[in-house]
Symmetry: C2
Subunit: 298 residues, 2 copies
């Protein structure tokens, strides 16, 4: 995990192989997450056959006219009311209005981006909603910049301290294996980012958020990004299984639908991925896969 000499440009073959391995990782993580979620559906429905048949992910491929595309996987199940997992690898050029906002693109506006993005809205209001996203960005061509970004954050509807603690603990342990400051810094970034300014309230219980991770240690930063995915895959299914049987009332459900309105407000008013994607001709269906299936503003 030695530091690279940042002043020496990488050769094209190395750049390409890093892109390939990042892209392969996002796909592999997608497969394992979907399998874990379907297993939850199986176990829940085996115990509650009257609730219906276990949900299954349906995949849909999409292409981006300007270059690249992705696959969205959506499941409408008995535990997962709606969960979308999108993997995408896109490339093109930033439009003039976005150059300068993105590192490395002032001279060469080309970009390449691959990533996985997941949002789960759960039937049971005692099971927290969740978001996870990791990505590898290349901007400005072979002589430009390359970095990882991502994170995971929990949005409890009826908060439970144990769930929040366990979620953060897993992320803290993961971060701690990579850098002593990662958890502290990325937790603060998450709190700052997932905040509804107009309501002066956080979106949920936080997690971690990082971007532009590019300190010259590609191997270490890719390993960290993989571990964020692993941490998510370890802890979130545990929380789902822990709470999916909790009895709830109509009032709990109503509260859940109202709280989901905050999720919509955040995503459409503030979320950079959503607003950036919608304003740059991204795939609407893939981007808005994160919208909750049912929402109320009473």
């Amino acid at each position: 995990m030695g530091r690279e000499d940042l002043s020496t440009p990488l050769d094209s073959a190395l750049i390409a192989s890093r892109r390939d391995e990042a892209q392969a990782w996002f796909k592999d993580l997608r497969d394992r997450i979907c399998a874990a979620f379907e297993a939850i559906e199986d176990d829940y429905c085996a115990a509650h056959p009257e609730q219906g048949t276990p949900g299954r992910f349906e995949q849909k491929q999409w292409n981006r006219p300007e270059g690249g595309g992705g696959v969205m996987s959506v499941m409408h199940g008995q535990v997962f009311e709606k969960v979308g997992v999108n993997i995408s690898t896109v490339h093109g050029e930033f439009s003039p209005e976005f150059r300068g906002q993105i590192p490395g693109t002032s001279e060469d506006p080309s970009f390449w981006a691959s990533g996985i993005s997941l949002v789960a809205h759960m039937r049971n209001p005692f099971v927290p909603a969740v978001h996870m996203n990791t990505r590898y960005l290349n901007a400005g061509g072979d002589a430009g910049k390359r970095w990882f970004g991502g994170g995971a954050d929990l949005t409890p509807i009826i908060p439970n301290d144990d769930d929040i603690k366990d979620f953060h603990q897993e992320l803290e342990t993961t971060c701690g294996r990579h850098h002593p400051d990662y958890y502290k810094d990325f937790k603060a970034w998450c709190d700052d980012y997932f905040y509804l300014k107009h309501r002066d309230e956080p979106r949920g219980a936080g997690g971690i958020f990082y971007d532009y991770l590019d300190a010259g240690d590609y191997d270490g930063e890719f390993a960290f990004t993989r571990d964020v995915g692993e941490a998510f895959l370890t802890v979130y299914p545990q929380l789902v299984r822990r709470r999916m049987e909790t009895p709830y009332t109509d009032q709990d459900r109503h509260h859940q639908l109202v709280r989901r309105g905050r999720y919509v407000e955040f995503n459409l008013l503030y979320d950079r991925g959503t607003t950036f994607g919608l304003k740059t001709g991204g795939n609407v269906e893939a981007i808005l896969m994160s919208m909750p299936p049912e929402v109320r503003w009473p």
Copy 2:
């Protein structure tokens, strides 16, 4: 209705009296609209007592910490699933980021604004949703600019050509009494404004939209703005009464809830009043009164 000499500043007393009469008009219009909508609730429930009791508007006053405030009136009825009518009169100073975007504020950032804003989401998917808003703005102090703005637009869920035609006809007739170009220009502005770029689709069936109406004929422009309110009050209750008895299916209702998602997307991604209000410390409850009561992104 003579044109004023725009180079001569108005005296403060005249400015104040115009503000007073505009503000009084918005309140009067609010009262008449609410009465007309409650009468619809009464008539519907008299014919269908099994549906429940007729809805009634509930008023809630709100204050803006920086100056002014308003009253929101919300009704959850049997015909009107959720309708909000907000009147407000606010004043203060534009923050640096908004100066320059608003006429007349580059030297003096003070503003005064009064208006009425209405959004109705209906139970029956055959009754179109509707939006109406008119306002009187003063910006840049006594030496600054003053103008009217507003409009009305229809969002059918299951479109009916007669409804769309009658809505537009009423607006066209109204506009035609004031200026030969108003309907053509303001219809085009409405089509342009209420457009979901990310989906490449209009929000609804259009109507009229105007802003910065300030050609030096205050009396005529105020009369036009009053007439826009009158046109709305004439035509929309007719459309509601025409369609509120139409039988509909679960599929129609589902379609309605999905279409409402487009309304949310528009308001949070594009609507200037909403995004401007939320980013300038406006009253969140009053601004988001326009959100549909129940929405689906399946």
